[in-house]
Symmetry: C4
Subunit: 229 residues, 4 copies
């Protein structure tokens, strides 16, 4: 129950989520972002119409498209925007993956949602100046589809030379890069946990189960809570 | 011991608070907001008089009524302001209800007050631009009554075509909508807890008790602490 | 090991700190604030001299005295500034006292310091516009003595008709008011804890000891940590 | 696995990290800061070139060197900037050292990383106006080397009369000063822990091991997590 296809793809490649779930998860994530954008559009319809003068555009001082999807700064080259999204999403994965790695002093379950929220907030605050800091294909494509269907027209996809594919594809690559870096630079260097069952078995679960199997049904609640991914 | 009639109404409809408590709770919540607003008025009396030139008004550049109650932006239609309050309060309930749902990996008791504080802060920061983000009938009606009795006159109720009923009624509807959405989309899909008593009975209480009965007397302290609702 | 004479006085009156400690604690709190202000003065000496042009004053656009002690706004009457400090400090005590009240679902020991920090931050952010939000006689008198001895002269005490006594005395009154309100409106209404020793004796200590006796030596560490009071 | 040579030096002098690790740790910390600065340079290359007009300078309205390393304000004397860095780093150590001091009510392991993050954030917010608030030789030297090699030239080292050595050396002194102050004013006054093994041996480890020996291999994960030092 993640909210970010880049995270889901990374978890699939790590064997933590079965590959068959990747497509339905991602579609639902985009659908959720589309519906939430539609609600934002309805709640702020009056304000958007007041600010834009009723003319919904992608360019100009009164543009309103960037309320929803992300767009690059004028000075930004294509390669820089790709790098921006790869780095941002790689940092996201580098911060998420240690949180429940039993070998790497995992955070308490109850603290994982606020920690992830602070990580996403921090990356968003630090790395949005180049091209909006999507680091999440669903968070970008869903609102972009909303603007396509709500009056901004096809320009939301064609503008900046069809730039829309960058926040859609680069985070997927960035998530894989970040996950690979975590494996190569950190996880593989951590000492193995003792194989005999620990005394307090509730707090230190066997590592293999967490990393190799899909979540058991009774962990569904935990997944829902950590949906801020 | 909630502070928000919309939350109390939602809890009544969920069977967590007896209906007979709804009216006295709500009246006390409005009374508390009135008294607190009166204290704010006294502490900042000099500053308010200095800023307003002694002329307490609802409109204009030197208006001071919106220090206390909420008022709509000029561009806002009635339906948008209703939707704004319904969505804001529904989001509040959607964030509060999982926190102590034993089936949904509840937060530790000690973390619930700060989490609720951050939720209210976040909704207030995100959704106040349309019409002040009341999402709480007591937080709006109490201060409005204070301004009525402290020199702003009946205009605080008659302005914007008697708009005052929106932050009074729409949050009640929004709380019900949010609670219903939590039930339909989340709670009903959670697997049942095992019926046999768990080993550590103190941390995983039987769900039925929490959702069906009013709080036991010895939990009163917990209620007082979570009064940030 | 509190940092605020108003808190220490309140704790003395509640029987939690022996009265004989009140004067030495308060003197040390003022001394600590004086020394810390001196360090601030040294670290920012160049910036203060650059901004003030070398003329250390209490009034005017280039005044620098309010970097250290608090001063009232021009529009503020004496009674309003007293009320401001009484209300602010009463709110501080109303927020502190429940935190370790065993009858009132106390916060975990490890969370008390950050909670108190957020409370002080919140009161400081909300209530500093009238007269600087001292709510702590030591935090105000110590820096004021520093400015007296570091070149601002006696005006730091004589200005605004000898206003300096307000942030020195009103917080003491406010702390007592807040503590009394907590007793009358909350503590006296809480049900008694069971008198038989609880099963997990480490987490629920007997109430009487905490409220009636001075802290035992082995709790000194806890005191040092909660020194943000 | 600290990120700050001043912290590592302090821990060496306290006997918590062996001296032989000081140099390799510090070099790796500078290398990490250099690589991270290089990544920032790449990600924001377009923005830096757009803002600076392609002319990478240390002085002037369009200077971009202070994006990376720290530089003093115009009004700042050499002695003030040294004092600034000594005080800032001493405060850092005074806040870090109690966190896992078993005699001083240590914070829970899981809370240490966020507490350290807030401490560093707070010092950075409070003490950056004089000369950028490095309080970390690696955080300053690494980015300065990056600017040296990325087009700003030798001026990043020669400017302000070779000022670069201040944020490189003063934090080392400040860390020692802060650690010494913690020992003299706090640690030596704490009562000894009982020598008999405590009942719950997992949460209260013997003090001597923590302070005298290097971390055991199985604690490596904890170190990685607390790398925000």
């Amino acid at each position: 129950a993640h909210l970010n296809p880049a995270v889901t793809l990374s978890f699939c490649s790590l064997g933590r989520v079965p590959w068959v779930k990747l497509l339905p998860y991602s579609l639902c994530q985009v659908l959720g972002a589309y519906l939430a954008s539609g609600l934002v559009f309805l709640v702020y319809y009056d304000a958007i119409m007041d600010f834009s003068g009723g003319n919904l555009t992608v360019y100009g001082a009164n543009e309103t498209a960037s309320i929803f999807a992300t767009y690059p700064s004028e000075h930004l080259s294509l390669s820089s925007s790709i790098l921006d999204q790869v780095v941002g999403t790689a940092m996201l994965m580098l911060c998420i993956l240690p949180l429940d790695d039993q070998k790497n002093s995992p955070a308490p379950d109850a603290l994982i949602p606020p920690i992830v929220a602070v990580v996403v907030l921090g990356i968003g605050m630090s790395m949005s100046s180049n091209c909006g800091g999507a680091i999440n294909p669903a968070r970008d494509l869903g609102p972009r589809l909303l603007t396509l269907t709500a009056g901004w027209g096809t320009e939301v996809f064609t503008c900046y030379n069809y730039w829309f594919w960058v926040p859609m594809m680069a985070p997927l690559l960035g998530g894989m890069v970040g996950s690979g870096m975590y494996l190569v630079f950190i996880a593989w260097h951590l000492p193995d946990l003792p194989t005999n069952p620990p005394i307090d078995s509730s707090s230190t679960k066997p590592t293999t189960e967490v990393w190799k199997q899909p979540p058991a049904p009774e962990k569904e609640g935990v997944e829902l809570k950590t949906a801020v991914f």
